[in-house]
Symmetry: C2
Subunit: 610 residues, 2 copies
């Protein structure tokens, strides 16, 4: 029987890496519980009994309880010496820093990889030609490039250019290895790869978010998604927010290259896993499309980001960029083109261009609003054939940050809150005992408390209501008393928590209002509001309307469209027309700067009201 807790008591602090979250822990509590308290989902398939080995962590600093029998069975003495432990077995004895490897962290994070896909005719960016070449002789000494070009000309593709070194580097060997029978893969008039004849052509679509990375492996000819994958953005080790990461690149000379490398390494792992899942080879991937917010786009491409962190927040690059897999170190066909969609502004990036593409805003005759909610919320209005966008600093409240009992959307998070006839109803992710509250839960809670009259329109908690209590920080509303929570502490909503939600919802609503005002429209003119992103998928729209985050339109006017950015990337990958549209969209969009818009301040303050 493993020992599950040490007898020592007292309070210590555990810092979890790479997230960087610190949590106070009662002595004797395991690292797994500490992580759950911190809102971090560590994989623990066996429920913490020490036999599934899935909760491996590494102690970087501090003392923990000695290894249990379970841990000795899992780790060699060398690994134990190196600090490797099972989070469900080890308990901190002192303040400690613990690193959670991605394989222990990822699985239980909700990562959204599927969304609404506008239907397109499959018309991939690459074309393949199976060539049967005659080998060179002393009578026919044409160079390898010339031989391939002339064969392509005979196949109806004159004027092909073979100018990429990585392609030329492999061409001579491929031709000879395949006995002069090869499948030539062209992007427009350029040779990007040679494969064995009849080899299927694969593509990769990637959406790089500040927190998460989503990747899709696609059959370019059939249009099917063969596999999809989500992972944490490894740059999170250098700060959860963009500004911290940009700061890192300014402080450390090789920092930018390091952040780029981490991202590419993670993508390469994802590519290997996707290909393994689909039983294909990475070199069959002959085309990729990548989107991300402007900072992620720049860090992925290796472009400078300092100017994104300070006014007037201009991108180094707005236009679409065509890179080669080899120059990025992406382990697919080395000559494969990697298309980065264009950026609209410093805080309206290529991911939002992909949203506009997937939501078909660019060619709609209707009046549509697309909102991608996150720490930064991008909004685009399509009206009368024109597109206008803005960016709102909505903050991380909906990611569970800046909220005292906030956490990411992981098991045990309160995701929905209702008060009916004075009675409180909660639901948690995976129906686990509650350990915190995630974005959709906090939104619901504020709406429910306001609906029940427990909050006033300014967001203050009314004194004397049931479940409220006085603390040194002011009044709190107790969602879960200590006896009913998963960690034995109460889960509460404070005035400050409510204020964070007010700031977030005011930012988003002010963005919507200003875009409408700029187009001389009102909310009633909107045919549809499309809500993209993981958070947007899980929120209760009634709550969002109730607190005034979204305009008060009938429910059928709203559509939750999931990871539209990833879907847009996939669209551009599968359709030449969509890619061309994507490159045009950025030029067509009018970017509206909110902070200098007339009346911004008063609009924002008005929208703070609940």
């Amino acid at each position: 029987m493993p020992t599950k807790s040490s007898p020592s008591s007292g309070r210590v602090t555990v810092e979890f890496q790479p997230i960087g979250r610190r949590v106070p822990v009662e002595g004797g509590s395991t690292l797994l519980r500490a992580a759950q308290q911190a809102g971090l989902g560590i994989v623990a398939l066996c429920g913490g009994d020490g036999w599934c080995e899935s909760c491996r962590v590494r102690i970087e600093h501090g003392n923990v309880t000695p290894p249990t029998d379970s841990e000795r069975a899992v780790f060699s003495p060398q690994l134990l010496d190196d600090g490797w432990r099972l989070a469900c077995q080890a308990a901190p004895l002192t303040d400690a820093r613990v690193s959670i490897p991605p394989e222990s962290l990822d699985a239980l994070q909700r990562l959204q990889v599927e969304g609404r896909l506008a239907s397109v005719a499959v018309e991939p960016l690459v074309q393949a030609y199976d060539l049967h070449l005659s080998p060179p002789t002393l009578q026919d000494q044409r160079a390898d490039d010339e031989r391939v070009k002339e064969a392509l000309e005979e196949a109806g593709r004159p004027g092909v250019v073979i100018d990429e070194l990585v392609v030329l580097e492999h061409l001579s060997r491929h031709l000879r290895q395949n006995h002069w029978d090869v499948r030539a893969v062209l992007r427009d008039s350029r040779l990007v790869a040679t494969l064995p004849t009849a080899c299927p052509l694969l593509g990769l679509a990637v959406d790089i978010g500040t927190t998460k990375v989503a990747a899709y492996l696609v059959d370019l000819e059939a249009g099917d998604t063969l596999a999809k994958s989500g992972a944490m953005n490894p740059q999170i080790a250098f700060g959860e927010d963009l500004i911290s990461r940009i700061g890192y690149t300014e402080r450390v000379p090789a920092g930018r290259a390091q952040l780029q490398r981490m991202l590419i390494d993670t993508l390469n792992e994802m590519i290997a896993a996707l290909c393994s899942e689909a039983s294909v080879e990475p070199w069959q991937i002959v085309q990729a499309v990548v989107v991300g917010n402007t900072a992620m786009h720049h860090l992925f491409a290796g472009l400078p980001v300092e100017q994104l962190a300070r006014a007037p927040y201009v991108p180094a690059l707005s236009h679409a960029l065509l890179m080669r897999a080899s120059e990025l170190g992406l382990q697919i066909a080395p000559g494969a083109c990697v298309d980065l969609l264009p950026n609209i502004a410093g805080y309206v990036g290529a991911d939002h261009v992909a949203v506009i593409l997937a939501a078909e805003l660019w060619n709609s005759a209707r009046t549509l609003l697309a909102i991608d909610i996150g720490t930064n919320t991008e909004i685009t209005l399509a009206a009368g054939g024109t597109l206008s966008s803005c960016s709102c600093a909505s903050g991380p409240a909906f990611e569970g940050a800046h909220i005292r009992d906030g956490m990411r959307a992981a098991p045990g998070a309160i995701e929905h809150v209702q008060i009916k006839d004075g009675e409180l109803f909660l639901s948690t992710i995976d129906s686990r005992p509650p350990i915190g509250i995630c974005g959709s839960g906090i939104l619901d809670a504020v709406a429910a408390l306001r609906g029940a009259g427990i909050l006033n329109e300014k967001g203050a908690i009314r004194r004397g209501e049931a479940r409220t209590r006085e603390t040194v920080d002011g009044l709190e509303y107790v969602l879960v008393p200590s006896g009913q929570s998963g960690h034995g502490r109460p889960i509460t909503i404070s005035r400050n928590d409510v204020n964070e939600v007010q700031l977030a919802k005011a930012a988003i609503r002010t963005g919507i209002d200003i875009l409408l005002d700029h187009a001389s429209l009102s909310a009633g003119d909107l045919d549809e509001i499309l809500i993209a992103g993981a958070f947007g998928t899980y929120i209760d729209l009634t709550s969002a309307v109730a607190i005034g985050m979204l305009p008060g339109l009938p429910r059928e006017h709203f559509k939750q469209i999931g990871n539209a950015a990833g879907m847009g990337a996939k669209l551009a990958l599968l359709s030449r027309t969509a890619l061309v549209e994507a490159t045009r969209i950025a030029g067509r969009v009018q970017y509206v700067e909110l902070t200098t818009y007339p009346g911004f301040q008063s609009k924002f303050l008005k929208n703070m009201y609940l």
Copy 2:
């Protein structure tokens, strides 16, 4: 007074790196003398007195005499410990391996960097626009790329593309550092660099030979050559001939990358030296043109070379290739284009395209023959508006190799030989005491011996002639008796030496004959024979005609045009028209394979006669 020799005697062997030449040395003889005996020119400005410090070498292996006072004055104890010595002071006590650094080796090698330059209108490949941009504000948040593109449009250059990562990477910083006043440098419609306003634009022309590398720094607007430089090709450490180097790339997995790296490192050193000489900065170099034989071209670009070493000897690439300085690691403006001229065939490379360009064969109405003599000799015939080329395996005899007393064209080499009225006249490079015989000398010697009847038409030395002597290897003709040579040994011409010259001249003459035959012409139809290359510049044309290497035309039909390959590269750098012509030339040239040409064998055998 420095000690110039050690008392020890006996014979030891010294191997010189990176050339790889071994030479037996009498004990007590200095390394400088040993190098001279090996035909290697080490810089010794003071004549070996130990005060000029120019003959620095490094002992890699073996024992030498202790450091002299002169050496202690030049080298720190650390450097002496590391094996650094002056070649004029140190004498080997045992077999030794000695490395000669380029700065000690190069200067006295005759490196040809100037040649005949066809006159062209200066019309460089890049154009510059001085831009005065308005800085971004919250009211004008255009991305950096967009701001530059719109300013270029206002300056009359719409549609400029900024798609190269290394350019974008530096653009944001350059704009801010230069307070939004920059000189934008365009190659066609692409931005390749941003410089301070009014900064002069420089270009680099490079000719990479198997043995030597020549580089020219050019003012792109004025057309002037600001500096020129020649260096040994560092790949020589892996074999003097191409086949050895190709073999190395096949044996060693990273060998190709290593050979490329060495070449780039040498070029970077040359660039730094050229810029220092001209008081300019390497980042001002915004365009480069590179030529070389097909193998050097491929190794420079990082392309596979195995297929060049075996029949049917096809290049991986024949077309012109446009690379970027950054992908090569060339330390000039990172976005600068590096144009590699096209290759005609496996043994008629981009350097010969440059010869055709410089010699204006491509647009001549006359019947011209251009010959670039080397280990491999390339010949092109221009007749009736068509161009035909061939490649002759002329061997290294004219580089001094395969000739027992042969050496490169360095001080002390016999460069000219005449026999007048039975009397022998010799001249050496720099009038130094003779230590060997270089290419032009051996050519003269064979012609003179044949003219004097000492050789018969088959190349055999007549028994009983003055200055002949019998050895175990057969009859020899003594050019310099032991008492008169610089090293105390006789310098002789053997039957084998004569045979090497016969093979070389037969190869060249057969090439000429077949090209003429292929065009249904005879030698008498030729208006001019242009002879390119370092060796071609120094040979005595009368001797070359006398032994039948060149057709017997009047002297005024011949023109020695120097390093025409380098000149062609410079032309392409300075003239957009010339570059376009160069890319066309390769496609226009008909390559004639000699070995399969009807009657090749009998023609070759006939041409062996003197």
